[in-house]
């Protein structure tokens, strides 16, 4: 049963990282334009270097 003392914290931490990631995406306006973002990924415009 000692394996539980590793697995439970690990599962909680991994879930927590996911949660923090989600909160970060909400806070940084990443859900304002879901349709546009889905199209932008296909545009070749800034493929060579990032947008300044």
């Amino acid at each position: 049963m000692s394996v539980l003392s590793y697995l439970i914290p690990i599962s909680l931490i991994l879930g927590g990282v996911g949660l923090l990631g989600f909160i970060y995406t909400v806070k940084s306006n990443q859900y304002d334009d879901p349709e546009g973002d889905a199209r932008r990924i296909l545009s070749g415009e800034w493929d060579d270097h990032p947008k300044p």
Partner: protein, 729 residues
Amino acid sequence: MTTAMRPSVSACPACEAAPGAVALAQKAEAERGARLALSVPGVHCGACIGAVERALSAHPGVRSARVNLTLKRASVEADPEVSADDLVRVLDGIGYEAHELDAGALRATATDRAGRDFLMRLAVAGFAAMNVMLLSISVWSGAQDATRDLFHWISAAIAFPAILFAGKPFYVSAWGALRHWRLNMDVPIVLAIVLAMLTSLWETSLSGEHAYFDAALALVFFLLAGRYLDHRTRAVARSAAEELAALEVPRAVRVTAQGEETVPVAALAVGDVVLVRPGGRMSVDGEIVAGRSELDRSLLTGETVPVFAGPGQAVSAGEVNLTGPLRVRASAVGEETSLHRMADLVAIAESGRSRYTSLADSAAKLYAPGVHILSALAFIGWYLFTFDMRIALNIAAAVLIITCPCALGLAVPAVTTAASGRLFRKGMLIKHATALERLAQVDTVVFDKTGTLTEGVPQVTNLDEIPQEALGVARALAEGSSHPLSQSIARAARAAGVAAARIMDAEEIPGYGTQARWNGQRVRLGRGAWVGAAPEPGTAAFLAIGEGPARAFRFADALRPGAEEAVRALRESGRAVLLLSGDSEGAVRDLAGRLGIEDWIAGALPAEKAEKVQALGQAGRKVLMVGDGLNDTAALAAAHVSISPASALDAARVASDIVLLGKDLSPIAEAVSVAQKATRRIRENFRIATLYNVIAVPLAVAGLATPLIAALAMSASSITVSLNALRLR
């Protein structure tokens, strides 16, 4: 009392500080440069985004431009000297229609704070529920003694902070209801959460078998999902409605001793002289001091025939200037204008609507006391039976948790989200939360004529009576004018393939018509009296060539696309259709005959329209009012449910529950049937939720419920209810 006061007191400093903060932000913005918002309805693909952004960024002075494809909007940061008109022209040049949006009206929806807040709480509840469920499954599948206690303690450690954070909307709402000695849906929810958490903690500390941490979290998660859906539907409708309002940028041209200046309408004062260009809308009540023109008053009165306007005549806000520039001395501005006074009629009429209780509210009214009584009885019964506080409390908590309105909370929002989404794709915007339920009950439909059933655009009806040559002259004269009758003649002649005659010295006499020379003769197209013709009963314009007799061009209002289908479908479904118009009798009889409407009233004043709608309502009819003008506003508000087209005046759109985004009227009939389907689904959902309770509650009262049964009942009912709602799409 002091505790009751506290929230409002603590809230106040923030709201007092807010205006200062807004002013600061505006000042900072002015220094940084202008932020412009454009509505670009034509963007629909990835290539469009690139094209629009490149074109905007290439314009001198633009610092950055970003297209939001979801909202079909472009926001531009630019130097202060860049005006929105320039950018609209730039986009026009590359083939995209664009309109300026009033940034002030949009600011409120720029970031959806409340929606974001819900999303965050939903995520936390979901995260916690998943982890606790993981631990609970181990307990249900047989974890014993120390392991079980450990799992319960970990669950408690996750559940307490998560529930404290995620459940806040429910605590606030329940407290608000309790403070006023009322019960709402949130009171049993909060009671269930609190009781479940406390008894579970108590059980855990005594190494008990049953803990309801997972059930409490799942409850919060499902309920938050319902609230979030509800919020989303309304936020989408609100932001679209605000965009419509923002399209009318409130500006006016003020004439001063120094010249002309463009100012916001709010800055105008009584006595200012305002220049209204042809095509512009009056922003003030006042008197014409200079200029001659014709006015389109259809939005205020429903009349389709433009009226003559000259110096000394009174005008009211909302009228549209047609032919010549007018200078108007303001006698009333802003809230004092007749436009706003008419909107006040709405407030009186609206009180009738708030009497409607939504299905969800009536369910909650039955439900909330029932649940409390049931769990109280279970508690008392078990306490008297066993004299064991622990057992009695555990059973009371189980009853509350199992009856808790997970499915009830999802039943309405899941259906309205699906139905609103479907209607939105058809071009209808559901603004009011209970609009669908009210729409489903409609048995009488009242239409306005001008601008609603008709486009408000006249069409020539007697084109074949006019000789080719005269038509050519008429086309040439008409093309030089922006008057709606002239434009209609030009359009009809173009469509008939008649070439314009060669005329010379054409000039427009504002308020009268256009005249020119053709083959050495004077030719005139305009009002009857000016041309020298006897007046006609309907809408007409006259063409005189030389000294010859004048020829009449007769007009009828063009039907809006889909008007016939909508009226026919509504009549076929057994609903009474009425036509109430402020226009003259002849025009109304004509249209009613074309559409097969037997019941019509012409020449109705705004108050008469509202009275008629109210009288129908008092006679027990459920009235759907469809109208667009200011003269319809009171009737729109008095009706059981109301629809207005997007071309309607702002006040009419605000007063109505549903806005038609496209030109087509045919979705109205479909909306009624979708609304009926939606109400049927809502009722089905209530029945499903009740069925689960009928099965699970006896188990809970009998003390046979385990956390596993609670979790199964809750998830299964929530999922069935959501799936049932999805059938509407």
